[in-house]
């Protein structure tokens, strides 16, 4: 394996982690919005606070990791994507800022009316951010970012593939979050809440599945290079993803949310990995390959070293944090 490819894969690992963990955090915004009035939604909103409170900042750092690795490892392709996709990136950024601030402010709001404002900001922007990040992915995957970065500021992300990718991203986030929240509520012994979440998640899961299947044809027509990869090299991954989704729904319906969580993660992770495999060897589809975009070799080696150090320094405490939040002492609030 070439060193460029190794760095690209290290970056991709971060992307998958962000999609899964960050995605689950974003998706909880959907349940927050639909939780109902202050009294009716109180239990669910408290559960959301409790589930994502300790982890959202750590999950968010995956995005920083991806950005930094990208601009360090593949600087010119980064600059090109940033220049062409400035608008959706800025919208996503606005969503990220409002979500973080809204979440932190809501928890310590003195009055219900302030908490409402902050809560609406948190929940609404939790859906805005993944939508626009999805359009960015769609724009890159459908070959709309030219190597010189002079792509059209609007049509590059206002097109079939990008918009569908945006909607699918939101749906996947909501599905992931639903399984996570159901599992958390079950473990904490909030049975009514868990039942309600399970019903919602099953609906979200069905809609997500329909969206993914329904968008296959339009994406195939709109993004031929990606489609070729998806039906070729990446086909097993896509099949895994579909299977994972179905298994997750079945497990959830049978009231086994912890296991459903695992299959939901498999479903989402394999669709992302499938996307990467489908567009290999392109970094910016039809424009720049991974090896063309690579920065200085010394830097790539240093980046791999940092990724390895991250594996040693970051992963164990991250696992510790997740295990703590899953323990019984932490389940009660």
């Amino acid at each position: 394996m070439t060193i460029e490819l190794a760095v690209a894969m290290a970056m991709f690992v971060g992307l998958v982690a962000y999609a899964v963990f960050g995605g689950a955090d974003f998706g909880s915004g959907f349940y927050d919005i639909t939780a109902g009035g202050a009294a009716r939604g109180a239990e669910l909103r408290t559960q959301i606070d409790h589930s994502i409170g300790p982890v959202w900042e750590a999950n968010h750092v995956w995005l920083i990791y991806v950005l930094v690795t990208w601009w360090t490892g593949f600087p010119s392709a980064f600059a090109a994507a940033m220049s062409t996709l400035i608008l959706p990136l800025l919208f996503a950024l606005l969503g990220i800022v409002l979500r973080g601030a809204g979440f932190a402010f809501r928890k310590y709001s003195p009055t219900l009316s302030q908490a409402r404002v902050h809560g609406a900001l948190f929940a609404g922007s939790s859906l805005i951010a993944p939508f626009f990040l999805g359009t960015v992915a769609g724009a890159i995957a459908s070959g709309r970012v030219p190597a010189d970065g002079q792509g059209d500021l609007w049509s590059s992300w206002l097109n079939t593939t990008s918009l569908l990718a945006g909607v699918i991203t939101v749906a996947c986030c909501a599905f992931l979050a639903g399984t996570f929240l159901t599992a958390d509520a079950t473990r904490a012994g909030h049975d009514e809440l868990a039942a309600r979440l399970r019903r919602h998640t099953l609906m979200v899961g069905a809609v997500t599945g329909a969206l993914v299947l329904g968008s296959l044809v339009p994406i195939t027509q709109d993004a031929p290079t990606l489609a070729q990869g998806l039906t070729g090299r990446a086909a097993p991954l896509i099949a895994t993803s579909i299977l994972g989704g179905i298994v997750a729904l079945v497990l959830l319906a049978r009231n086994r949310p912890s296991a459903a969580r695992v299959s939901a993660v498999v479903a989402v992770a394999s669709v992302i990995v499938g996307w990467g495999a489908a567009q290999y060897p392109w970094l910016l589809v039809d424009e720049v390959t991974i090896s063309d975009a690579a920065g200085a070799p010394a830097t790539l080696r240093a980046l791999l070293l940092v990724a390895a150090i991250a594996g040693i320094i970051v992963v164990p405490p991250l696992v510790y944090l997740f295990r703590l939040t899953q323990s019984t002492e932490w389940a009660q609030h």
């Binding site: 109180a42 408290t46 750092v61 090109a80 800022v97 973080g100 790539l300």
Partner: protein, 470 residues
């Protein structure tokens, strides 16, 4: 020269994205740096309070630690999102810089990302760990958080230092070659610049938190709680304030060789004089200095560590390589003035306390001054950054790349600036409202600050439904 100041900020040939991009960077960085300082320095203070509470069994200290942890949850959250804004902006606003030098300056950023990970993970554990894990282990969770904050600061400052003293690459025929990311990261002034910022963060946070308790004492709440809440941060800030002028002086040494135009602007040196005076105040208008107070020889002594060595004058530097002089000069002197004042003030406080056995905290005027020290330290940090950043102009990478080459070409960036200004204003207002309401509820004797839509509301709902039939 005022005309020149204005010109160099908005020359007609510059890309349309340049001026708004600079203002955007200034606004968002200027905002982030205040919150980031809390991320750097607050954990150490929380640690001391928590340690005293737990190991020395002082209940007051434990309450302080719990409250500070809650405050830091709010501050760190908006610190993290404002930092994310910067990560995006590096690429969005400066494609020329990141496209060309991304692989040169990326390594410290990557390591910075790593330390943010560590910081965020242990922050999550610490904030939610109260009462949920063994107390001593819980206390230890602050340590990695504090270390990660320091490492992260070094990394990000090393990027800024690299822009001042570029290293770790060569330019051959217009192409960047021989990239050595480690040499770029450990560039000549990275260490000192880091030390300066690190200490500045302790001043900012220490004086600000101490000031909050000074307000309480001024309003008559002179209990042990307020004294301890004042003394812990004030002690940190005192040490920092005394060290800071020394580090600043070391940082300024050699500036005449590194960036002569910046030093000339700092010192308002229009011509090369030997020995150079120290010029206080004053403005440069059409090449003439008005209203300055000159102290002979001191300029050479401070800037060059010599009785005779001159500060190179602006007249030796081509006009197109000069920074906006007045902004740089005033920002620099503001920082120095505040730094000197704060260092003197803390020396006086501790000297009076130790040798005269008198407590200045019993005097209203001193408490009033303490309330002002927090904002003063904030102004010093901002002024310091303005001095470094504006003083480096017109270069983004000193001597290598001009800022105009780094900027993108979108005129629409003014919209972005307007939106950002609105969002950041709202975020500031939101943070102030929430923090003040937390303080108010604590004063009223509430301890845990449950969320208003919290379990109680949910429980009432349920019990209402359940209990009625019974």
């Amino acid at each position: 020269m005022v005309a020149h100041d204005a010109l160099s900020l908005a020359a007609a040939v510059d890309p349309a994205g340049l001026l708004p991009a600079r203002q955007q960077m200034a606004l968002t960085l200027g905002w982030h740096i205040i919150l980031a300082s809390f991320g750097v320095a607050f954990p150490a203070m929380i640690f001391v309070a928590h340690w005293r509470g737990l190991v020395r069994k002082e209940p007051i200290a434990l309450v302080l630690a719990q409250r500070w942890a809650k405050v830091s949850a709010v501050l760190f959250a908006i610190g993290a999102v404002s930092g994310t804004v910067l990560s995006f902006e590096m690429g969005l606003l400066w494609p020329g810089l990141m496209g060309t030098f991304g692989d040169v300056l990326g390594l410290p950023f990557a390591l910075e990302g790593l330390s943010f990970f560590v910081e965020a993970i242990f922050l999550g554990i610490y904030l939610y760990g109260w009462g949920r894990m063994p107390p001593r282990r819980h206390l230890l969770m602050v340590v990695p958080m504090a270390i990660a904050g320091v490492v992260g600061t070094f990394c990000v400052i090393s990027v800024n230092a690299w822009m001042n003293t570029p290293a770790g690459f060569r330019i051959v025929d217009g192409e960047v070659t021989d990239v050595d990311p480690w040499a770029a990261m450990f560039n000549p002034i990275a260490g000192l610049q880091f030390a300066h910022m690190w200490v500045a963060a302790y001043m900012l946070v220490g004086f600000t938190i101490a000031g909050v308790y000074a307000v309480g004492m001024l309003r008559g709440r002179r209990d042990a709680h307020h004294r301890l809440g004042f003394l812990i941060p004030f002690t940190f800030a005192s040490v920092a304030a005394v060290i800071q002028p020394v580090i600043g002086h070391l940082l300024g040494g050699g500036l005449g060789d590194r960036q002569p135009a910046k030093l000339a602007a700092f010192e308002l040196a229009t011509t090369t004089e030997s020995p150079s005076p120290l010029r206080l105040g004053g403005v440069l208008v059409d090449g003439e200095v008005y209203g300055a107070i000159d102290i002979p020889v001191l300029g050479s002594l401070i800037a060059q560590n010599s009785f005779t060595a001159p500060v190179r004058g602006l007249d030796t530097i081509p006009l197109e390589d000069q920074p906006p002089v007045n902004i740089t000069h005033w920002a620099f002197q503001t920082m120095i003035a505040i730094g000197t004042l704060l260092a003197l003030a803390v020396v006086v406080y501790w000297a009076v306390r130790w040798w005269r056995k008198r407590e200045l905290l019993d005097h209203t005027w001193f408490l009033g001054f303490c309330v002002a020290t927090g904002p003063l330290a904030v102004v010093a940090v901002e002024a310091g950054w303005i001095a470094t950043e504006v003083g480096r102009q017109p270069w983004v990478v000193y001597g290598v790349m001009r800022t105009s080459e780094a900027a993108g070409d979108y005129p629409g960036l003014w919209w972005l600036l307007a939106v950002t200004a609105v969002v950041y204003t709202c975020m500031t207002v939101g943070a102030v409202l929430v923090l003040r309401s937390m303080a108010r509820r604590w004063r009223q004797g509430e301890h845990d600050l449950p969320s208003p839509y919290g379990p109680e509301a949910g429980l009432q709902d349920k019990t209402a439904g359940k209990e009625r039939p019974a």
